[in-house]
């Protein structure tokens, strides 16, 4: 659970942290589209350069940014293996072990997809590491506001998102505490096959969910006691304002990403 970067906001005074959440959401959307549109490694190099610049400007520890990659390590390994390993009689001159052989062209494709996944994870990690959950939900609410015309309960969805994001670290901490407590009673979570490991999680998941339901109940009562009611129009204590730096970053990213998608 500790390897998950999502939701783990690290507050620091940096130009990236200071950007409007809508700008950061827009840039993530643009980079994602560019990552899936480009077909050449050179385009990845340009996007990676952009990310390195963003990480430097964010003043975040590089280790925190890269932690998200660890979480998708299995996916990366499967991607690489699925593209590069072949079964059957190997052609001459390729590395092989029995009937298993390495397809050099497939390996290149595997590396391409793996790089795409890494860049995608780093991009989304940068969003959550530099944007507080509340700011993120505010940004989403503002972006979704036009949907209110079609009867979408934008305010409630935003509140749900805020609460869900806010409780990710709390839930992770609680799960860790329960795991420790059950480990103190002799439970082992790192032994046996997948089924045994899944069974070993029952003593963690049952109390975790019971506590989550209890907390949700208390939170709902606390919100209602402070006059929260579903569907009501609410004002914001801090209204989001797009500044010149936000427009610069957004337009710059749009030009770069659209250009890459069209050219590469």
């Amino acid at each position: 659970m500790r390897v998950l970067s999502i939701g783990q906001y690290i507050p620091t005074d940096s130009p990236v942290h200071g950007l409007d959440p809508r700008t950061k959401l827009g840039v993530v959307a643009l980079v994602t589209v560019a990552l899936f549109s480009v077909t050449r490694f050179e385009a990845f190099a340009v996007l990676a350069g952009l990310l390195v610049l963003a990480v430097r400007l964010s003043r975040l520890p590089v280790r925190s940014v890269l932690r998200g990659i660890k979480a998708v390590g299995v996916i990366l390994a499967i991607t690489l293996a699925a593209h590069s390993l072949r079964w059957g009689s190997p052609p001459a001159g390729v590395p092989s072990a029995g009937s298993l052989w390495l397809d050099p062209a497939g390996a290149m494709t595997g590396v391409f997809f793996a790089v795409r996944i890494v860049l995608l994870v780093v991009t989304t990690s940068m969003l959550t590491l530099t944007t507080s959950p509340v700011a993120l939900a505010d940004g989403l609410e503002r972006l979704m506001r036009p949907l209110a015309v079609f009867g979408v309960p934008v305010g409630d969805v935003a509140m749900m998102l805020t609460v869900a994001l806010r409780f990710i670290p709390t839930t992770a901490y609680e799960a860790e505490q329960i795991m420790m407590a059950q480990a103190a009673r002799g439970a082992r979570f790192d032994q046996g096959g997948p089924i045994r490991r899944a069974k070993a999680l029952v003593p963690v998941l049952v109390p975790l969910f019971v506590n989550l339901f209890r907390r949700a109940d208390v939170l709902a009562i606390a919100m209602e006691s402070r006059c929260y009611a579903s569907g009501r129009r609410r004002t914001r204590m801090k209204e989001l304002v797009m500044r010149a730096s936000d427009w610069f970053v957004l337009i710059g990213s749009a030009v770069l990403c659209v250009g890459l998608a069209l050219v590469m």
Partner: protein, 275 residues
């Protein structure tokens, strides 16, 4: 011998902006039959000390030993730890089933007997409570059931993290009574923000500040030299504070009391002797 920590240091989130030194060269010991009360402000390292002693947090430096040997793996047979709000970890279909979880994990040949004995030791009749759902227990009963879950392991040392938090008066008294009884079987450490109810059973008090031990002594030491205890950023328990004040005003206290009745006797005795 005993459960000992020698010069242990623990740092969380090393190498990140959230890096935090939780323990800084702490040495600590519990002998069999002792009750050591550990106090300190929030963030002073109390809970980390307990987790280190239970083998759940690995110190960056220093070592933990139990009766002169390294902690066994798993350490549960030697050291049991009861976390804050332990009732939140109950998950079994019945109370008996939940308490038997630990012995079952450790391969105990008769986990149900171990669970029944542990329930009886915390004052919960196995016949009455054993088949109930743990989620139907009151706060105090659930706390005792959770403590029974650790006692059932048969550990030689038991560590309790804030065992009375959130309990009413009778719940607190029940927990103190468990500590009083269990000290005959094992060494106990109690981490608490409210040491008062544990003073009558405390062999020693240890105060932490910023991950270091700033006071270690008996209630007598705390009253005779309160400046060390207070340097942990804490107030002395009221019963001890009264006796510190009495000493400051010149009362010739022959000894230090740790219950209301005892303190009253000590003060009356001092008055008789001074007049």
């Amino acid at each position: 011998m005993g459960l000992t920590a020698s010069e242990i240091s623990v740092t969380y989130n090393r190498g990140t902006v959230a890096q935090q030194r939780a323990l800084d060269g702490v040495s600590f010991c519990i002998e069999a039959g002792e009750v050591v009360v550990v106090v300190g402000v929030t963030g002073s390292g109390k809970s980390t000390l307990l987790k280190s002693l239970a083998g759940l947090v690995k110190p960056d430096s220093g070592s933990v030993a139990v009766d002169g040997a390294p902690l066994p793996d798993p350490p549960a047979r030697a050291v049991g730890i009861v976390f804050q709000n332990p009732e939140r970890q109950l998950f079994g279909e019945t109370v008996l089933d939940d308490v038997a979880f630990g012995p079952r994990m450790l391969g105990d040949p008769d986990p149900i007997s171990a669970a029944e004995q542990a329930l009886a030791r915390v004052g919960l009749d196995p016949a009455t409570f054993g088949q109930r759902s743990p989620f139907s227990l009151s706060g105090g009963e659930a706390r005792r059931a959770a403590i029974a879950g650790i006692l059932a392991l048969g550990a030689r040392y038991v560590l309790l993290d804030e065992p009375t938090v959130g309990l009413d008066g009778s719940g607190r008294r029940a927990v103190v009574e468990i500590v009083r009884r269990e000290r005959e079987r094992c060494g106990i450490a109690v981490v608490t923000h409210h040491p008062d109810p544990f003073l009558p059973v405390a062999s020693r008090i240890v105060a932490l500040r910023d991950g270091r031990v700033v006071f270690s002594g008996t209630t007598e030491d705390a009253v005779r030299h309160p400046e060390q205890y207070v340097s942990a950023g804490l107030q002395l328990p009221e019963l001890l504070e009264i006796q510190v004040e009495a000493l400051r005003r010149g009362a010739p206290l022959a000894r230090v009391g740790s219950t209301a009745e005892d303190v009253a006797s000590v003060l009356l005795d001092a008055r008789r002797r001074s007049s």
